[in-house]
């Protein structure tokens, strides 16, 4: 198919921007989701790679492997659903045009980075997405969103700069080559790898670079949280995948540490998530936990170059699974505070939650199986129990989520759900169940997870978690207040940084020159010369004549 079709991917959001500016948000907001359509279609029927010499150097767009296509597809789907969902979500707020502008630009960036086949395009898309997401996080008024958005932006900018540096180093290492293809086999330096890991890590939000996530998600509108958590933070993982080489001694060396970070991140997210009292904060921690798994996959791929093919598939599946499920959950969390849930709403909501916990017949079970294979492939059998703990933890987390959402339903006078939100949300909720049937790679994995031993292996941690949950509920255990109000050093640091940057101007150093004294001495000096011009000149003549003694 004609490569020029790729131009539609960023072109459609741009067109939407123009429409928005011309017609205003009230008239066209409902149709903006259509701008994801070209990307969705192209993910299904990809076009030929497109080189664009007129743009920034090396620009080249394509999506020809599974990973890219899957990524493009789920991103487009998630964004489309979220777009539709957001129309109602933000209908009552001010500055809708601003919101939609940032929304579309972030969408543009996200899609662009997915179809990028060169570093420049990736960076362009990545930055556009990162910075425009600020507008989404900061959409609501009030100090809390402002602080959250500020921290987000500070870290995003730092991340940008680190990626910028890492990217340049990488280009240099690759001898000026810009195509991501070429980088796969170029060995990396320690600095490059570190810069990229931290830079992308700040976006991806694995421990310990997660600090912005728990603040930003509750602050943003539900639709924004959905895309932020579902699509955007994964861009960091994608970046690491693309930017760092496949088979590299250094990364192999580091992979043990990365595995550890991933594991900590997975457990940390669960642990902290359980302490949250707001559903969206809990989901944010859950994202941290899930990104930890993604990092583990990356580390495995680096550790076992032979495993890379499988890892790519796993990465694609996991991203799709988590992105869609997390999107649905965030929307649900947002809805739970606004509208009255019916029973079937709860059922729908349970689907993605359970999928995340890895229940059979969902995409969760499929990816968990593949994940185990990966761990096996890495000869890391000892890590298996961590997986079990993680699985149980996730289940607990989901239980607490549902419980929290239920708690938020207690307030009176909640309106019924609007029709315009119902459809996209439902679509996303059903995806974890539907997708394994629709999509062949996932279907295979799901089918593989159906044998009994596998079901049991997937189920018993969940049941354990269920038991614990029941126990807690029955006992009526409450969170200790100390744990409820954990200090947030990141927020404090962010505010400090702002104050530091608004340092008052240093008063100009000006030496107090005593004008009068100066004038006085000058006048005396002048008088010395001026009084008696004739006499002074005559004196000077005499003195000059004394020069005769010199010769």
């Amino acid at each position: 198919m004609n490569g020029l079709l790729w131009l539609l991917v960023p072109g459609a959001p741009l067109l939407a921007v123009v429409l928005l500016l011309c017609a205003g948000p009230r008239r066209c907001a409902g149709w903006l989701w259509l701008s994801c359509l070209p990307a969705l279609l192209l993910s299904l029927w990809p076009a030929e790679p497109l080189a664009l010499p007129a743009l920034w150097p090396g620009a080249q767009w394509a999506a020809d492997d599974l990973l890219s296509r899957a990524w493009l597809g789920f991103s487009a789907l998630l964004w489309a659903c979220a777009s539709r969902f957001a129309v109602t979500d933000i209908a009552s707020t001010d500055h809708q045009q601003r919101f939609w502008l940032f929304w579309l630009l972030a969408l543009l960036g996200n899609l662009l980075l997915v179809i990028a086949a060169d570093a420049g395009s990736f960076y362009v898309g990545f930055t556009l997405m990162s910075l425009c997401a600020y507008g989404l996080v900061a959409h609501r008024r009030g100090p809390v969103p402002r602080q959250a958005a500020r921290l987000y932006l500070q870290l995003a900018v730092v991340g940008e700069m680190l990626i910028y540096a890492g990217m340049l180093l990488r280009i240099h290492e690759a001898g000026g080559a810009l195509a991501l293809e070429a980088w796969r086999d170029t060995p990396t330096g320690a600095w490059t790898a570190a810069l990229l890991l931290v830079g992308f890590g700040l976006k991806a939000g694995f421990w310990p670079l997660h600090v912005w996530l728990p603040l930003a998600h509750p602050a943003a509108p539900a639709a924004a949280s959905a895309v932020l958590s579902g699509a955007m933070i994964k861009a960091g993982i994608l970046g690491l995948w693309h930017f760092l080489p496949a088979d590299d001694a250094l990364l192999q060396h580091w992979s043990a540490w990365l595995l550890a970070v991933g594991a900590i991140s997975a457990l940390y997210g669960v642990a902290l998530g359980l302490l949250q009292t707001r559903s969206k904060a809990l989901l944010a921690y859950s994202s941290i936990s899930q990104v930890g798994y993604l990092l583990v996959i990356l580390a495995l791929a680096w550790q076992q170059p032979a495993y890379r093919e499988a890892a790519a598939t796993l990465l694609a599946l996991y991203a799709v699974h988590h992105g869609l499920a997390k999107g649905a959950l965030f929307m649900g969390a947002g809805l739970s505070t606004r509208v009255r849930f019916q029973t079937w709403h709860w059922l729908c909501l349970a689907l993605p939650a359970l999928a995340l916990a890895g229940l059979p017949l969902t995409s969760g079970a499929a990816v968990k199986l593949l994940f185990k294979e990966g761990i096996d492939a890495g000869n890391l059998a000892g890590w298996m129990f961590l997986l079990v703990i993680g699985s149980a933890g996730t289940m607990l987390l989901m239980l607490r989520l549902l419980w929290l959402m239920r708690a938020s339903q207690r307030q009176a006078n909640l309106p019924p759900m609007a029709g315009s939100q119902r459809l996209p949300w439902l679509l996303l909720c059903l995806m974890p169940v539907l997708l394994p049937w629709l999509w062949s790679p996932l279907r295979q994995a799901m089918l593989d997870s159906l044998p009994l031993y596998a079901i049991w292996a997937a189920l018993w941690p969940a049941l354990l978690a269920l038991a614990i949950g029941l126990l807690v509920w029955k006992q009526g255990w409450q969170l200790p207040p100390r744990l409820r109000q954990l200090p947030n050093p990141a927020r404090v640091a962010s505010v400090r940084l702002m104050h530091l940057l608004h340092w008052p101007p240093v008063p100009a150093l000006r030496k107090p020159l005593d004008e009068r004294l100066w004038r006085h001495s000058e006048r005396r000096w002048n008088r010395l010369w001026q009084v008696g011009t004739v006499a002074t000149s005559a004196w000077i003549i005499v003195l000059l004549l004394m020069l005769g003694w010199l010769g």
């Binding site: 008696g532 006499a535 005559a538 005499v542």
Partner: protein
Amino acid sequence: MSGASLYLGLGVLLWLLGLHGLLRLRHPLRRIMAINLMGSGTFMVMVALASRSGHNDPVLQALVVTGLVVAVSATAFALRLAVAHQAHRSRQRPTGEHEE
């Protein structure tokens, strides 16, 4: 010591005396006299040089004549200027202007 040398020295001495007057004296008339002394000293040096080897040097004497005319013209001008300045000052004095 010959007469010429004597007058040469005298001329130099007069010249210096004039210069000395210029740097020590304030009154315009005295200064003009001092300058005339310098002139006389110079002319004396020239005339002494003209007469040094017995027969007179007409060129030097002619130069002195010219110099003398120049000197007297300038002196006269200076004196008139000094007088005019003095007159102006005495007219200005009541208003408190003071120069040099």
